[in-house]
């Protein structure tokens, strides 16, 4: 993890812990499809495939949101998760995650974007993936490549 991003991920985790006391206040957005998830915000979408079992995935999810927010890129972050619904709900409530997450139990999006392992990110313009994580790349290298792609596509 990049040194500059670590405090953000840590803050997200701590905030999640603090929010744990008020779980009822968190409205988790578990969606059945990408269409449902991106409703109301048409445009580029950053899919973040993750699992609640791997801490590296948490970092990738939190840091993706941070990256998009910090750069003010016109991109919606949508999580994709294929595990049990209860696990997802517990995770979203624990970390106060309010961005949409597609519950992809039948792995339709995993298959469509050829995702073998998580964490994995894909940037969509329409249905086309204009960026896909290098499956053999390290997390920092992937993040830098995504930043380059965002800059190339959306610089102002």
């Amino acid at each position: 993890m990049k040194r500059g991003l670590f405090p953000i991920a840590l803050a997200a985790v701590l905030a999640g812990g603090a929010m744990g006391a008020g779980r009822a206040a968190v409205k988790a957005r578990i969606c059945a499809s990408l269409e449902e998830a991106s409703r109301g915000s048409p445009g580029p979408v950053l899919l973040v495939f993750f699992s609640t079992d791997c801490p590296i995935c948490y970092d990738d999810l939190f840091e993706s949101r941070y990256l998009i927010d910090k750069g003010r890129w016109p991109v919606s972050v949508v999580g994709v998760f294929s595990g049990p619904r209860d696990d997802l709900r517990t995770f979203l409530e624990k970390y106060a995650w309010t961005l949409p997450v597609v519950l992809d139990r039948r792995k339709a999006l995993f298959k469509k974007y050829k995702v073998d392992a998580v964490p994995f990110k894909a940037l969509l313009l329409g249905m086309e993936a204009v960026y896909r994580d290098d499956p053999y790349g390290d997390p920092d290298g992937r993040r830098e490549e995504l930043k380059r792609c965002l800059t190339r596509l959306f610089f102002r």
Binding site: S51, S82, G83, P84, R85, D87, R105, K111, D116
Partner: protein, 324 residues
């Protein structure tokens, strides 16, 4: 003239070799349509092991932390276990075996074997000093548990025999070690499956073209060389030091009614190797007797007579009827 003189004995030798080998029959498989299985629990997130008993198919779903029960026509019935660390909970289960309605599950990251009854209630178990990978009931009193070597100590054993009370009876099959832990991880991948009368078989997934045969007490009683016509898929990986080549012997394997069913890996677009769709059917002497072509590549499978129960590379359950 010389060719003519040599040709006769060579032809006799070739004929003798051919007589020793049965003709390879070509079997096809027809896919059986499955029920819709709409329930969320019926989805297989990461199916990695299958087992059968008289009435049910059991599929270990490592992602969901459960063993999923299906009828033999593919209808989802229930999930046994859930994610967690307590009794009846599982953390990355990776193997299952069934006897008399009792399920033994290799509860990998909880370092234990857990038992369940068919209703899904926990029925004991025992801790093990390693992350168990596969569990195979050999007879009414012996359980074979496998482990993957950690590389931290020398001469790690990969096979462990326990009684149902968790008492260790035997350990064996030392892991092979080189200076490259990645290479070691590949060459020490094994598959195990029970045979008849408590015996069991071990296949190294790469590097060896043979099947090891053990008794229920752990004695190695045979090494079955597999027919050289059985296809290897070589795999070059960027191991440390000089490049090493793995002979991709086996993606998955099982045993049923005197025959081994072995699937060779196949090249997959965008990857090195993946599961294949061709199963080699090998007899007890290691002779290739038939090849069974499935409609799709399969990741894991079990065979019962003319039925093949499998999970494909996307984690979907598939059932095939073999046409001989």
């Amino acid at each position: 003239m010389i060719m003519a003189v040599l040709g006769v004995p060579l032809a006799v030798l070739a004929a003798a070799r051919t007589m020793d080998r049965p003709e390879i029959r070509k079997w096809k498989a027809v896919e059986i349509a499955l029920p819709a299985n709409d329930a969320d629990e019926a989805c297989l997130g990461r199916p990695i092991a299958l087992a059968l008993d008289a009435d049910h198919l059991y599929i270990v779903d490592a992602q969901d932390g459960a063993v999923k029960l299906f009828s033999k026509n593919g209808e989802f019935l229930k999930a046994v276990g859930r994610k967690g660390r307590g009794p009846g909970e599982l953390s990355f289960p990776s193997g299952v075996s069934v006897i008399g309605g009792r399920l033994f599950v290799a509860d990998k990251f909880n370092y234990r074997i857990q038992a369940f009854d068919r209703a899904g209630e926990p029925r004991g178990g025992f801790p093990v000093p390693f992350a168990p990978d596969k569990a195979c009931v050999l007879n009414g009193e012996t359980l074979l548990v496998t482990s993957s070597p950690t590389g931290r100590t020398a001469a790690e054993k990969m096979l462990h025999l326990y009684d149902f009370g968790g008492r260790l009876r035997w350990e064996g099959l030392e892991a092979r070690a080189s200076s490259d832990p990645v290479f070691d991880a590949f060459i020490n991948m094994i598959l195990v499956f029970p045979g008849e009368g408590g015996e069991f078989f071990v296949v190294f997934r790469s590097g060896e073209r043979s099947i090891l045969r053990f008794t229920a007490s752990g004695a190695l009683v045979g090494k079955i060389p597999v027919d050289e016509r059985y296809a290897f898929q070589p795999l070059d990986l960027p191991f440390r030091g000089p490049k090493k080549r793995l002979l991709g012997f086996c993606w998955a394997a099982t045993w049923d009614r005197g025959l081994f069913y072995i699937s060779a890996p196949a090249p997959v677009e965008g990857k090195d190797l993946g599961p294949g769709r061709l199963l080699s059917v090998v007899d007890r002497q290691g002779r290739l007797t038939a090849s069974l072509e499935l409609p799709c590549p399969v990741h894991r499978f079990v065979v019962e007579g003319t039925r093949v129960y499998a999970v494909d590379d996307d984690g979907g359950l598939r059932i095939f009827e073999v046409v001989r």
